[in-house]
């Protein structure tokens, strides 16, 4: 078992969902409750990582983060090292890749709130921030937690984008998915099996919790 790779994957997953939580709540709520021009286009852009092959997405992120891109140049000037093949670059890529996994369940969670319940809250004298705090968040939380779990589990298993943007630097960008690949290449089937089983269990647990929470959304308003 490559503990360093597992720790790095868990850290990457935790930081990814920490960043996606506020973003997902803001964007998911906006998409659920507001109608605006270009909403369909915005939703299509946000869903793109779901359908793009990871290598294609990884390639574009590699170009966007590279030293000759404005982002890569700016990062190099600011921090002193390149964004590609660094943990920060991997984290940024992980956030982008996981946008649809986190945002879509959160959006569905907010959409499941009956409009008249939110209107009743406003008519009860609750200003918008209290409606958000007292009504939206408690009623949408199964969707929010589902989004976070899916993003976390997907981060643990992501391979193509990690390899393209991060490479395989131990302790920096070598995640457990990459470590499994390395072990197989080295004919170390035992280590690969242990790590695969660990990922399998984590993914199964994540999906189990997700399905339980999804059924809660259905029951709440059933």
């Amino acid at each position: 078992m490559d503990w360093s790779a597992l720790t790095l994957s868990l850290r990457l997953g935790a930081l990814t969902i920490l960043i996606l939580l506020p973003l997902g709540v803001i964007v998911g709520r906006l998409l659920a409750f507001r109608q605006f021009r270009g909403k369909g286009f915005a939703q299509a852009v946000l869903a793109l990582p779901l359908v793009l092959p990871p290598t294609v997405l990884g390639y574009y992120l590699l170009v966007a983060f590279g030293g000759s891109s404005p982002l890569g140049e700016g990062w190099q000037a600011l921090v002193g090292h390149s964004l590609v093949f660094s943990f920060e670059g991997l984290l940024l890529a992980s956030v982008i890749v996981n946008v649809p996994f986190a945002f879509q369940p959160m959006q569905r969670g907010f959409e499941a709130i009956p409009p008249d319940v939110r209107e009743a809250a406003a008519c009860s004298g609750l200003p918008p921030w209290r409606v958000f705090w007292m009504i939206d968040l408690p009623l949408a939380w199964p969707g929010i937690v589902t989004g976070l779990i899916l993003a976390f589990a997907h981060t643990l298993g992501e391979f193509g984008v990690v390899l393209m943007v991060g490479g395989s630097i131990p302790g920096e960008t070598k995640t457990i998915a990459i470590a499994i690949y390395d072990r197989v290449q080295a004919f170390d089937n035992h280590a690969a099996g242990v790590m695969s089983a660990t990922l399998l269990l984590l993914s199964f647990a994540a999906l189990g919790v997700t399905y339980i929470l999804s059924s809660r959304i259905g029951r709440r308003h059933g």
């Binding site: 009956p114 209107e119 009743a120 406003a122 008519c123 004298g125 007292m134």
Partner: protein
């Protein structure tokens, strides 16, 4: 009473107009302590009118005033958001907060009171609507009639200047409806504010309201005491809206 005099005495004054998408040509007033039933067929604009008063719908042109305070004046660009209009709104579906208990639903609407007074006031309101002992139940564990009572208690919690009831009796059986009618009559003894009741049930409107305001295709056609309107509808549209027996023949 002349509209001009009513303006001086306070109460609710509503004037709404727009050509579409939902046509509106609404004008009525409701005095302190009066129950005005807004009556019309399905799709006649009753609920839209009620929502406009609450600030949940924004008509193109109009004015809503209550006790001298302007809530909506499109000419002046004034349109207070719902949480700043002191209305008590009972929704047709009751729209209770499903994750809160009956007590929690009422407490949520008591934000204007100091925190240490809210629980006691919420209990008093639930007692007022005959729900003592049901404080800790969630909406899903309450009957339709009990949910309606929680909705009324919540609507009264913020000490509204006007009470808006959107077909509040449509989802309960007839015996419960009769009971709730009696309770509304009782409630009016202790709450002296304008009450606007939206209904398509003429018998219900006639039994509960001081005055009826007939609305059809978004246009208020005639306002008056139930007996007067039922005896002398101004025209055929009013007679149809009131479902009078001769309306179809005339």
């Amino acid at each position: 009473m002349a509209e001009r005099d009513m303006h001086k005495r306070g109460g609710l004054h509503v004037r709404l107009w727009q050509a579409g998408p939902i046509p509106l040509a609404v004008e009525f007033s409701c005095e302190q302590g009066e129950l005005l039933a807004l009556i019309g067929l399905s799709g006649s604009g009753k609920t839209t009118t009620l929502r406009s008063i609450a600030g949940l719908y924004h008509p193109r042109d109009g004015q809503v005033r209550c006790n001298g305070t302007v809530w909506l004046d499109t000419k002046r660009g004034l349109d207070l958001p719902p949480h700043r209009r002191p209305v008590g709104f009972v929704f047709q579906s009751y729209a209770l907060f499903p994750h809160m208990t009956a007590l929690g639903n009422v407490v949520a609407a008591l934000g204007h009171l100091p925190a240490d007074e809210r629980l006691e006031r919420a209990r008093d309101l639930l007692t007022l609507v005959h729900l003592k002992g049901f404080e800790q139940r969630r909406p899903a564990a309450l009957s339709g009639g009990q949910q309606q009572r929680v909705a009324v208690a919540r609507a009264l919690a913020r000490e509204p200047a006007v009470l808006l009831l959107d077909e509040p009796f449509s989802a309960v059986d007839r015996p419960t409806r009769r009971k709730l009618h009696r309770e509304l009559a009782e409630l009016r003894q202790s709450v002296r504010i304008p009450i606007v009741l939206v209904t398509h049930d003429v018998d219900e409107a006639a039994a509960l309201a001081d005055r009826l305001c007939v609305i059809d295709h978004g246009e208020t056609l005639q306002t008056g005491r139930p007996a007067e309107l039922l005896a002398a509808p101004a025209n055929r549209r009013v007679a149809v809206a009131l479902d009078l027996p001769d309306a179809e023949r005339s």
